[in-house]
Amino acid sequence: MNSSLDTNEKIVDHLKWVTRVLHSCLSELGHDQRLQQASHGITNSKDELNYIISKTTQSAESTLLAVENAKPILENLSANAESLHNLWKQIPEETVTTIANEPVIHHALKQTLDFLNEVPDQTASTQIYLTEILVAQNFHDLTGQVIQRILQTIETIERETQQLLGDTPASKEMAAKPSNNLLNGPTINPQKQEDVYVNQAQVDDLLAELGF
């Protein structure tokens, strides 16, 4: 019993030693720095992918809402044009003759009836385009599924990298290193970043402060 405990302890000690050697090798070769850099990059990539999910969700949902709201308006427009057209068709024969003798009114009436007659066809075509817009939102489902899979892969890589880094303390300098170029794209995490202006009022205020 005691001897097996001893053996276990020896194995654990040996593993600790191997791990220490591995870590010191990594750090001597400068790999710990690189791994930390990679680890930081991985975390950013996760935020960026979540940003894509959130923006495409918002965009697809507002498009769907707009399509859903527009469709009944077109249905009404079509139905109203049709009933108005029918109403004009019911005017008595003698009124038609009277109107026929008034060239300006006659012309205006003809144009109006032609217009009312065309409305249902035109709204039907618009409905077809709206349906295309509706169905096109399926990109959200498809790209969403792919992004979820990429996120899972990234999480695996993140875990592996963390294990490899072991107890090496994360270099503050690396994590906080500001990017000082002017091509950063959309702001993924406005609350985590200083000096970003995500709404127009903030931008206008800053410009005003600067005297513009």
Binding site: L64, T131, V135, Q137, N138, H140, D141, Q145
Partner: protein, 131 residues
Amino acid sequence: MTDKNLRFLVVDDFSTMRRIIRNLLKELGFNNVEEAEDGAMALKKLRDGGFDFVVSDWNMPNMDGLTMLQNVRADDALKDIPVLMVTAEAKKENIIAAAQAGASGYIVKPFTAATLDEKLNKIIQNMAVHA
């Protein structure tokens, strides 16, 4: 003549996709549509009764569409309900597995309104023949 009162259950974990299908069904004249976000919830709703048609995704958490389909076909009360699969899974094995499990149709995402219309009508005509 298609019965426009058919009661549909649309199963997909993405609300966007459920909404697209619901709107397309509405355009085809079917206003009686309910939604479920995974196979398990769908099965529960189906067992509560009253559904005539299921349109289902495959890849979903909790219970996927194939397992749901197998459960439906194994349940005496549900086994005759048509199940149309609408999924991004496009491998030959998937299509074969769905067919073997008793899917009534298989639409690959992304799809068009015309495709949904065509497959749906085909299944509904079959329902009428076998009714």
